[in-house]
Protein backbone atom coordinates (compact mmCIF):
# COMPACT_ATOMS: atom_id res chain seq x y z
CA UNK A 1 0.00 0.00 0.00
CA UNK A 2 1.41 3.37 -0.97
CA UNK A 3 1.80 6.01 1.71
CA UNK A 4 -1.08 8.48 1.58
CA UNK A 5 -0.44 11.92 0.07
CA UNK A 6 -2.62 13.35 2.77
CA UNK A 7 -4.00 11.90 5.96
CA UNK A 8 -6.41 13.85 8.11
CA UNK A 9 -7.35 12.61 11.56
CA UNK A 10 -10.04 13.97 13.87
CA UNK A 11 -9.88 17.43 12.36
CA UNK A 12 -11.97 20.10 14.07
CA UNK A 13 -12.08 23.80 13.20
CA UNK A 14 -13.68 26.60 15.17
CA UNK A 15 -14.07 30.04 13.65
CA UNK A 16 -15.12 32.88 15.92
CA UNK A 17 -16.24 30.36 18.52
CA UNK A 18 -18.53 28.52 16.07
CA UNK A 19 -17.69 24.92 15.31
CA UNK A 20 -17.40 24.69 11.52
CA UNK A 21 -15.80 21.25 11.18
CA UNK A 22 -16.13 18.51 13.76
CA UNK A 23 -13.97 15.42 13.96
CA UNK A 24 -13.33 14.84 10.24
CA UNK A 25 -11.03 11.99 9.19
CA UNK A 26 -10.03 10.85 5.71
CA UNK A 27 -7.03 10.01 3.58
CA UNK A 28 -6.04 10.49 -0.02
CA UNK A 29 -3.72 8.08 -1.82
CA UNK A 30 -1.77 8.77 -5.02
CA UNK A 31 -3.98 8.67 -8.11
CA UNK A 32 -7.24 8.94 -6.22
CA UNK A 33 -10.03 11.43 -6.79
CA UNK A 34 -11.79 12.33 -3.60
CA UNK A 35 -15.08 14.17 -4.03
CA UNK A 36 -16.12 16.38 -1.17
CA UNK A 37 -19.85 17.03 -1.03
CA UNK A 38 -22.23 18.61 1.41
CA UNK A 39 -24.89 21.32 1.64
CA UNK A 40 -24.13 25.05 1.58
CA UNK A 41 -22.33 26.13 4.72
CA UNK A 42 -21.23 22.57 5.51
CA UNK A 43 -17.60 23.67 5.81
CA UNK A 44 -16.21 22.36 2.52
CA UNK A 45 -14.28 25.48 1.55
CA UNK A 46 -13.15 25.92 5.16
CA UNK A 47 -11.73 22.40 5.00
CA UNK A 48 -9.70 23.41 1.93
CA UNK A 49 -8.46 26.59 3.56
CA UNK A 50 -7.53 24.64 6.68
CA UNK A 51 -5.50 22.25 4.52
CA UNK A 52 -3.72 25.31 3.09
CA UNK A 53 -2.85 26.42 6.62
CA UNK A 54 -5.16 29.42 6.81
CA UNK A 55 -7.23 28.43 9.85
CA UNK A 56 -6.18 27.12 13.27
CA UNK A 57 -7.38 23.56 13.94
CA UNK A 58 -7.39 20.63 16.33
CA UNK A 59 -6.51 17.14 15.17
CA UNK A 60 -3.87 16.01 12.70
CA UNK A 61 -3.10 16.92 9.09
CA UNK A 62 -0.28 14.73 7.79
CA UNK A 63 1.18 15.46 4.35
CA UNK A 64 3.29 13.03 2.37
CA UNK A 65 6.91 14.07 1.75
CA UNK A 66 7.26 17.24 -0.40
CA UNK A 67 3.69 17.33 -1.62
CA UNK A 68 3.13 20.26 -3.98
CA UNK A 69 -0.38 21.64 -4.11
CA UNK A 70 -2.31 23.19 -6.95
CA UNK A 71 -5.32 25.05 -5.67
CA UNK A 72 -8.33 26.34 -7.60
CA UNK A 73 -10.45 28.61 -5.39
CA UNK A 74 -14.20 28.82 -5.89
CA UNK A 75 -14.34 32.57 -5.95
CA UNK A 76 -11.78 34.78 -7.52
CA UNK A 77 -12.32 38.46 -7.98
CA UNK A 78 -9.80 40.78 -9.55
CA UNK A 79 -10.57 44.40 -10.14
CA UNK A 80 -11.08 45.05 -13.85
CA UNK A 81 -8.32 47.66 -13.92
CA UNK A 82 -5.74 45.66 -11.97
CA UNK A 83 -2.54 46.19 -13.97
CA UNK A 84 -1.55 42.58 -14.59
CA UNK A 85 -1.66 40.47 -17.73
CA UNK A 86 -2.64 36.81 -17.84
CA UNK A 87 0.98 35.96 -18.67
CA UNK A 88 2.27 37.88 -15.66
CA UNK A 89 -0.29 36.22 -13.42
CA UNK A 90 0.80 32.75 -14.54
CA UNK A 91 4.40 33.85 -14.12
CA UNK A 92 3.76 34.41 -10.43
CA UNK A 93 3.60 30.65 -10.16
CA UNK A 94 6.11 29.49 -12.72
CA UNK A 95 8.85 31.14 -14.71
CA UNK A 96 8.78 28.48 -17.42
CA UNK A 97 7.24 30.03 -20.50
CA UNK A 98 6.93 26.76 -22.37
CA UNK A 99 4.98 25.19 -19.51
CA UNK A 100 2.72 28.21 -19.33
CA UNK A 101 1.88 28.02 -23.03
CA UNK A 102 1.24 24.27 -22.78
CA UNK A 103 -1.24 24.63 -19.90
CA UNK A 104 -2.98 27.63 -21.45
CA UNK A 105 -3.48 25.65 -24.68
CA UNK A 106 -4.66 22.58 -22.75
CA UNK A 107 -7.44 24.79 -21.40
CA UNK A 108 -8.58 25.88 -24.84
CA UNK A 109 -6.88 29.28 -25.08
CA UNK A 110 -4.44 30.49 -27.68
CA UNK A 111 -1.24 32.04 -26.41
CA UNK A 112 -2.42 35.53 -27.40
CA UNK A 113 -4.44 35.52 -24.16
CA UNK A 114 -1.18 35.94 -22.24
CA UNK A 115 -1.08 39.60 -23.33
CA UNK A 116 -4.63 40.31 -22.15
CA UNK A 117 -5.36 41.92 -18.84
CA UNK A 118 -6.59 39.42 -16.26
CA UNK A 119 -9.37 41.71 -15.02
CA UNK A 120 -11.14 42.00 -18.39
CA UNK A 121 -11.70 38.25 -18.87
CA UNK A 122 -15.16 36.79 -18.31
CA UNK A 123 -15.85 34.75 -15.19
CA UNK A 124 -15.57 31.48 -17.09
CA UNK A 125 -12.30 32.52 -18.73
CA UNK A 126 -10.85 33.55 -15.37
CA UNK A 127 -11.82 30.16 -13.96
CA UNK A 128 -9.96 28.43 -16.77
CA UNK A 129 -6.91 30.64 -16.23
CA UNK A 130 -7.06 29.67 -12.55
CA UNK A 131 -7.11 26.00 -13.46
CA UNK A 132 -4.09 26.53 -15.72
CA UNK A 133 -2.42 28.34 -12.83
CA UNK A 134 -3.03 25.43 -10.50
CA UNK A 135 -1.77 22.87 -13.03
CA UNK A 136 1.51 24.67 -13.74
CA UNK A 137 4.62 22.84 -12.59
CA UNK A 138 2.51 19.66 -12.30
CA UNK A 139 1.35 19.59 -8.67
CA UNK A 140 1.04 16.27 -6.82
CA UNK A 141 -2.35 17.16 -5.40
CA UNK A 142 -5.00 19.33 -6.96
CA UNK A 143 -7.51 20.99 -4.64
CA UNK A 144 -10.41 22.04 -6.81
CA UNK A 145 -13.21 24.11 -5.33
CA UNK A 146 -15.80 23.89 -8.07
CA UNK A 147 -17.73 27.03 -8.92
CA UNK A 148 -21.47 26.68 -8.36
CA UNK A 149 -22.11 27.24 -12.06
CA UNK A 150 -20.28 24.80 -14.31
CA UNK A 151 -17.45 26.07 -16.47
CA UNK A 152 -17.26 25.21 -20.15
CA UNK A 153 -13.95 24.51 -21.71
CA UNK A 154 -13.82 25.24 -25.43
CA UNK A 155 -16.16 23.14 -27.54
CA UNK A 156 -18.43 21.99 -24.74
CA UNK A 157 -15.74 19.98 -23.01
CA UNK A 158 -16.33 20.19 -19.29
CA UNK A 159 -13.93 20.72 -16.45
CA UNK A 160 -14.52 17.13 -15.41
CA UNK A 161 -13.59 15.53 -18.66
CA UNK A 162 -10.47 17.67 -18.61
CA UNK A 163 -9.63 16.65 -15.05
CA UNK A 164 -10.29 13.04 -15.89
CA UNK A 165 -7.92 13.25 -18.83
CA UNK A 166 -5.23 14.89 -16.72
CA UNK A 167 -5.63 12.26 -14.09
CA UNK A 168 -4.93 9.53 -16.57
CA UNK A 169 -2.09 11.36 -18.29
CA UNK A 170 -0.30 12.57 -15.20
CA UNK A 171 -1.53 10.25 -12.49
CA UNK A 172 -2.66 13.36 -10.66
CA UNK A 173 -4.41 13.15 -7.32
CA UNK A 174 -7.41 15.38 -6.79
CA UNK A 175 -9.74 16.53 -4.06
CA UNK A 176 -12.75 18.17 -5.65
CA UNK A 177 -15.56 20.04 -3.96
CA UNK A 178 -18.44 19.17 -6.24
CA UNK A 179 -22.03 20.23 -6.53
CA UNK A 180 -23.02 17.68 -9.14
CA UNK A 181 -23.71 14.16 -7.96
CA UNK A 182 -23.42 12.81 -11.46
CA UNK A 183 -19.82 13.95 -11.54
CA UNK A 184 -19.15 12.29 -8.23
CA UNK A 185 -20.47 8.95 -9.45
CA UNK A 186 -18.60 9.16 -12.74
CA UNK A 187 -15.21 10.46 -11.71
CA UNK A 188 -14.61 10.06 -7.99
CA UNK A 189 -12.90 7.03 -6.51
CA UNK A 190 -13.93 8.10 -3.05
CA UNK A 191 -16.49 10.44 -1.63
CA UNK A 192 -16.56 12.32 1.65
CA UNK A 193 -19.87 13.89 2.60
CA UNK A 194 -19.72 16.39 5.37
CA UNK A 195 -22.09 18.64 7.17
CA UNK A 196 -19.92 19.95 9.95
CA UNK A 197 -19.16 16.33 10.84
CA UNK A 198 -18.74 13.33 8.54
CA UNK A 199 -21.99 12.00 7.06
CA UNK A 200 -20.48 9.40 4.74
CA UNK A 201 -17.08 8.26 3.53
CA UNK A 202 -16.11 5.58 1.02
CA UNK A 203 -16.47 4.64 -2.66
CA UNK A 204 -19.44 6.55 -4.13
CA UNK A 205 -21.53 3.51 -5.00
CA UNK A 206 -21.54 2.14 -1.47
CA UNK A 207 -21.22 5.38 0.52
CA UNK A 208 -23.83 7.44 -1.29
CA UNK A 209 -27.01 5.54 -0.48
CA UNK A 210 -30.45 7.04 -0.98
CA UNK A 211 -30.74 7.40 2.76
CA UNK A 212 -27.51 9.36 3.03
CA UNK A 213 -28.48 11.62 0.14
CA UNK A 214 -31.87 12.44 1.58
CA UNK A 215 -30.21 13.14 4.90
CA UNK A 216 -27.81 15.59 3.26
CA UNK A 217 -30.67 17.04 1.22
CA UNK A 218 -32.98 17.44 4.23
CA UNK A 219 -30.22 19.19 6.08
CA UNK A 220 -29.94 21.57 3.17
CA UNK A 221 -33.67 22.35 3.36
CA UNK A 222 -33.44 23.03 7.07
CA UNK A 223 -30.46 25.19 6.46
CA UNK A 224 -32.47 27.26 4.01
CA UNK A 225 -35.32 27.63 6.47
CA UNK A 226 -32.96 28.86 9.12
CA UNK A 227 -31.69 31.45 6.70
CA UNK A 228 -35.19 32.68 6.04
CA UNK A 229 -35.89 33.02 9.73
CA UNK A 230 -32.85 35.25 10.26
Amino acid sequence: MATPLLKVENLSVDLEKNRILDNISFEVNPGETLALIGPNGAGKSVLFRTLLGMHPYQGKIKWGPNVRIGYVPQRFSVEPDLPITVGEFLNLRSGKRRGIIAEIEALGFTKEILQDRLGVLSGGQQQRVLIAWALLDHPDLLLFDEPTAGVDIAGGETVYSLLHKLQQERNMTTIIISHELQVVFQHATKVLCINQSTVCYGPPKTALTGEILSKLFRVEMEHHKEHHRD
Binding site: R49, L52, G70, Y71, F76, P83, T85, L92, R117, W133
Partner: protein, 259 residues
Protein backbone atom coordinates in the same frame (compact mmCIF):
# COMPACT_ATOMS: atom_id res chain seq x y z
CA UNK B 1 29.20 75.64 -5.18
CA UNK B 2 25.46 76.19 -5.07
CA UNK B 3 25.12 74.37 -8.39
CA UNK B 4 26.96 71.28 -7.10
CA UNK B 5 24.81 71.32 -4.02
CA UNK B 6 21.64 71.42 -6.10
CA UNK B 7 22.87 68.59 -8.33
CA UNK B 8 23.64 66.48 -5.29
CA UNK B 9 20.20 67.14 -3.78
CA UNK B 10 18.58 66.29 -7.09
CA UNK B 11 20.47 63.01 -7.13
CA UNK B 12 19.39 62.10 -3.60
CA UNK B 13 15.82 63.09 -4.43
CA UNK B 14 15.83 60.91 -7.53
CA UNK B 15 16.85 57.81 -5.59
CA UNK B 16 14.48 58.40 -2.67
CA UNK B 17 11.61 59.31 -5.02
CA UNK B 18 12.18 56.21 -7.14
CA UNK B 19 12.16 53.93 -4.10
CA UNK B 20 9.05 55.64 -2.69
CA UNK B 21 7.21 55.35 -6.01
CA UNK B 22 8.07 51.67 -6.42
CA UNK B 23 7.02 50.76 -2.88
CA UNK B 24 3.88 52.82 -3.25
CA UNK B 25 2.80 50.67 -6.20
CA UNK B 26 2.05 47.80 -3.80
CA UNK B 27 0.40 50.11 -1.29
CA UNK B 28 -2.10 51.27 -3.93
CA UNK B 29 -2.88 47.69 -5.03
CA UNK B 30 -3.30 46.63 -1.40
CA UNK B 31 -5.99 49.32 -1.11
CA UNK B 32 -3.99 50.97 1.62
CA UNK B 33 -3.61 54.36 -0.04
CA UNK B 34 -5.32 56.30 2.75
CA UNK B 35 -3.52 54.35 5.46
CA UNK B 36 -0.20 54.90 3.73
CA UNK B 37 -0.95 58.58 3.41
CA UNK B 38 -1.74 59.10 7.09
CA UNK B 39 1.01 56.72 8.23
CA UNK B 40 3.76 59.30 7.77
CA UNK B 41 2.13 61.67 10.28
CA UNK B 42 3.30 59.41 13.08
CA UNK B 43 6.86 60.46 12.36
CA UNK B 44 6.25 63.94 13.81
CA UNK B 45 5.89 63.07 17.52
CA UNK B 46 8.86 60.71 17.11
CA UNK B 47 10.89 63.54 15.66
CA UNK B 48 9.89 65.83 18.53
CA UNK B 49 10.76 63.27 21.17
CA UNK B 50 14.14 62.80 19.48
CA UNK B 51 14.75 66.55 19.71
CA UNK B 52 13.72 66.59 23.38
CA UNK B 53 15.99 63.70 24.27
CA UNK B 54 18.80 65.31 22.31
CA UNK B 55 19.26 62.35 19.95
CA UNK B 56 19.06 62.37 16.15
CA UNK B 57 15.44 63.35 15.44
CA UNK B 58 15.46 61.01 12.43
CA UNK B 59 16.05 58.08 14.78
CA UNK B 60 13.04 59.18 16.80
CA UNK B 61 10.95 59.44 13.62
CA UNK B 62 12.09 56.00 12.48
CA UNK B 63 11.23 54.43 15.85
CA UNK B 64 7.75 55.98 15.83
CA UNK B 65 7.16 54.77 12.26
CA UNK B 66 8.26 51.23 13.11
CA UNK B 67 5.75 51.17 15.97
CA UNK B 68 3.01 52.43 13.66
CA UNK B 69 3.95 49.86 11.00
CA UNK B 70 3.69 47.08 13.59
CA UNK B 71 0.27 48.44 14.56
CA UNK B 72 -0.96 48.43 10.95
CA UNK B 73 0.42 44.96 10.46
CA UNK B 74 -1.30 43.67 13.58
CA UNK B 75 -4.66 45.09 12.49
CA UNK B 76 -4.15 43.76 8.96
CA UNK B 77 -3.52 40.23 10.21
CA UNK B 78 -6.08 40.01 13.00
CA UNK B 79 -9.12 41.99 11.86
CA UNK B 80 -11.36 40.62 9.20
CA UNK B 81 -12.64 44.09 8.34
CA UNK B 82 -9.77 46.50 8.01
CA UNK B 83 -10.41 49.24 10.60
CA UNK B 84 -9.45 52.16 8.42
CA UNK B 85 -11.28 54.69 10.61
CA UNK B 86 -9.27 53.58 13.62
CA UNK B 87 -6.00 54.02 11.75
CA UNK B 88 -7.06 57.46 10.52
CA UNK B 89 -8.03 58.62 13.99
CA UNK B 90 -4.89 57.30 15.62
CA UNK B 91 -2.51 58.76 13.04
CA UNK B 92 -4.16 62.16 13.01
CA UNK B 93 -4.01 62.13 16.80
CA UNK B 94 -0.29 61.45 16.59
CA UNK B 95 0.04 64.45 14.27
CA UNK B 96 -1.82 66.68 16.74
CA UNK B 97 0.39 65.59 19.62
CA UNK B 98 3.45 66.02 17.43
CA UNK B 99 2.53 69.60 16.53
CA UNK B 100 2.11 70.47 20.22
CA UNK B 101 5.40 68.99 21.39
CA UNK B 102 7.68 69.93 18.48
CA UNK B 103 9.74 73.05 19.30
CA UNK B 104 8.53 75.99 17.20
CA UNK B 105 11.73 76.63 15.21
CA UNK B 106 11.83 73.02 13.95
CA UNK B 107 8.12 72.63 13.33
CA UNK B 108 7.93 74.04 9.82
CA UNK B 109 10.88 72.00 8.64
CA UNK B 110 9.48 68.83 10.22
CA UNK B 111 6.09 69.32 8.64
CA UNK B 112 7.11 70.34 5.15
CA UNK B 113 10.71 69.23 4.70
CA UNK B 114 13.84 71.25 4.17
CA UNK B 115 16.40 69.92 1.77
CA UNK B 116 18.95 72.59 2.50
CA UNK B 117 19.69 70.95 5.84
CA UNK B 118 20.75 67.65 4.27
CA UNK B 119 24.49 66.97 4.68
CA UNK B 120 26.67 65.08 2.22
CA UNK B 121 26.91 62.04 4.47
CA UNK B 122 23.15 61.96 5.03
CA UNK B 123 22.61 62.21 1.30
CA UNK B 124 24.94 59.31 0.54
CA UNK B 125 23.33 57.17 3.23
CA UNK B 126 19.91 58.00 1.75
CA UNK B 127 21.04 56.94 -1.73
CA UNK B 128 22.49 53.65 -0.47
CA UNK B 129 19.41 52.91 1.65
CA UNK B 130 17.09 53.68 -1.27
CA UNK B 131 18.92 51.23 -3.50
CA UNK B 132 18.80 48.55 -0.82
CA UNK B 133 15.10 49.07 -0.10
CA UNK B 134 14.22 48.96 -3.81
CA UNK B 135 16.20 45.76 -4.24
CA UNK B 136 14.56 43.96 -1.32
CA UNK B 137 11.13 45.17 -2.43
CA UNK B 138 11.81 43.81 -5.92
CA UNK B 139 12.81 40.44 -4.48
CA UNK B 140 9.55 40.08 -2.52
CA UNK B 141 7.34 41.74 -5.16
CA UNK B 142 6.06 38.42 -6.54
CA UNK B 143 4.90 37.31 -3.11
CA UNK B 144 3.34 40.66 -2.26
CA UNK B 145 1.34 40.73 -5.50
CA UNK B 146 0.16 37.17 -5.09
CA UNK B 147 -1.08 38.02 -1.61
CA UNK B 148 -2.93 41.01 -3.07
CA UNK B 149 -4.63 38.89 -5.73
CA UNK B 150 -5.51 35.97 -3.48
CA UNK B 151 -4.21 35.03 -0.05
CA UNK B 152 -5.34 31.48 -0.66
CA UNK B 153 -3.30 31.11 -3.85
CA UNK B 154 -0.29 32.48 -1.99
CA UNK B 155 -0.83 29.99 0.82
CA UNK B 156 -1.08 27.14 -1.68
CA UNK B 157 2.53 27.94 -2.64
CA UNK B 158 3.45 27.95 1.06
CA UNK B 159 4.05 31.70 1.09
CA UNK B 160 3.63 33.27 4.51
CA UNK B 161 1.51 36.35 3.85
CA UNK B 162 2.13 37.52 7.40
CA UNK B 163 5.89 37.60 7.05
CA UNK B 164 5.73 39.17 3.57
CA UNK B 165 3.36 41.91 4.76
CA UNK B 166 5.54 42.73 7.75
CA UNK B 167 8.69 42.95 5.68
CA UNK B 168 6.90 45.14 3.15
CA UNK B 169 5.63 47.55 5.82
CA UNK B 170 9.13 47.82 7.31
CA UNK B 171 10.48 48.70 3.86
CA UNK B 172 7.85 51.43 3.60
CA UNK B 173 8.93 52.65 7.02
CA UNK B 174 12.49 52.91 5.74
CA UNK B 175 11.60 54.86 2.62
CA UNK B 176 9.30 57.21 4.53
CA UNK B 177 12.08 57.99 7.01
CA UNK B 178 14.38 58.84 4.11
CA UNK B 179 11.78 60.99 2.41
CA UNK B 180 10.86 63.06 5.44
CA UNK B 181 13.85 65.34 4.97
CA UNK B 182 12.63 66.20 1.49
CA UNK B 183 8.92 66.24 1.82
CA UNK B 184 8.18 66.53 5.54
CA UNK B 185 5.98 64.40 7.76
CA UNK B 186 2.75 65.96 6.58
CA UNK B 187 3.12 65.28 2.88
CA UNK B 188 5.52 62.34 2.57
CA UNK B 189 2.63 59.92 2.19
CA UNK B 190 1.82 61.61 -1.09
CA UNK B 191 5.24 60.75 -2.54
CA UNK B 192 4.50 57.09 -1.78
CA UNK B 193 0.93 57.04 -3.07
CA UNK B 194 0.53 59.59 -5.88
CA UNK B 195 3.18 58.30 -8.33
CA UNK B 196 1.68 54.81 -8.13
CA UNK B 197 -1.84 56.16 -8.56
CA UNK B 198 -0.62 58.05 -11.64
CA UNK B 199 1.07 54.92 -13.00
CA UNK B 200 -2.09 52.90 -12.53
CA UNK B 201 -3.94 55.28 -14.82
CA UNK B 202 -1.85 54.26 -17.80
CA UNK B 203 -0.60 50.73 -17.04
CA UNK B 204 -1.98 47.48 -18.37
CA UNK B 205 0.75 45.18 -17.11
CA UNK B 206 2.71 44.83 -13.87
CA UNK B 207 5.99 45.64 -15.56
CA UNK B 208 4.78 48.96 -16.89
CA UNK B 209 3.03 49.71 -13.60
CA UNK B 210 6.22 49.21 -11.59
CA UNK B 211 8.30 51.18 -14.05
CA UNK B 212 5.94 54.14 -14.25
CA UNK B 213 5.48 54.21 -10.46
CA UNK B 214 9.22 54.48 -9.94
CA UNK B 215 9.61 56.87 -12.85
CA UNK B 216 6.91 59.26 -11.59
CA UNK B 217 8.48 59.08 -8.12
CA UNK B 218 11.84 60.04 -9.60
CA UNK B 219 10.38 62.80 -11.74
CA UNK B 220 8.26 64.23 -8.90
CA UNK B 221 11.21 64.40 -6.53
CA UNK B 222 13.55 65.88 -9.13
CA UNK B 223 11.06 68.44 -10.40
CA UNK B 224 10.01 69.35 -6.85
CA UNK B 225 13.57 69.84 -5.62
CA UNK B 226 14.40 71.92 -8.67
CA UNK B 227 11.33 74.15 -8.32
CA UNK B 228 11.91 74.53 -4.61
CA UNK B 229 15.43 75.78 -5.21
CA UNK B 230 14.41 77.97 -8.14
CA UNK B 231 11.59 79.79 -6.36
CA UNK B 232 12.84 79.37 -2.77
CA UNK B 233 9.70 77.52 -1.69
CA UNK B 234 9.51 74.55 0.75
CA UNK B 235 10.47 71.30 -0.99
CA UNK B 236 7.56 69.23 0.38
CA UNK B 237 4.70 71.06 -1.30
CA UNK B 238 6.78 71.43 -4.48
CA UNK B 239 7.40 67.66 -4.71
CA UNK B 240 3.78 66.79 -3.97
CA UNK B 241 2.41 69.30 -6.48
CA UNK B 242 4.78 67.91 -9.11
CA UNK B 243 3.45 64.40 -8.46
CA UNK B 244 -0.12 65.69 -8.65
CA UNK B 245 0.76 67.12 -12.04
CA UNK B 246 1.70 63.62 -13.23
CA UNK B 247 -1.49 62.22 -11.80
CA UNK B 248 -3.58 64.86 -13.55
CA UNK B 249 -1.78 64.27 -16.85
CA UNK B 250 -2.17 60.48 -16.78
CA UNK B 251 -5.79 60.80 -15.67
CA UNK B 252 -6.54 62.91 -18.73
CA UNK B 253 -4.71 60.39 -20.92
CA UNK B 254 -6.79 57.58 -19.48
CA UNK B 255 -10.04 59.47 -20.05
CA UNK B 256 -9.07 60.46 -23.57
CA UNK B 257 -8.04 57.02 -24.76
CA UNK B 258 -10.63 54.97 -22.96
CA UNK B 259 -13.49 56.60 -24.86
Amino acid sequence: MIETNLLFLLLVGIFVGGAAGFLGSFMVLKRMALVGDAFTHVALPGLAIGLMLNIDPMLGAFAALVLAALGIWYLEETSRIYPEALVGIFFTGALAVGILITPEPELLEALFGDIQSITAVEGLVAIAASILITLVAYLISRKVILGVISEELARSLKISNKAVNLLYLLLVTGVVTLGIRFVGTLLMGALVIVPAAAARNISRSLVSYYLFSALFGVASAALGVYLSSLYAIPSGPAVVLASLGFFGGTFLLKKTFKA
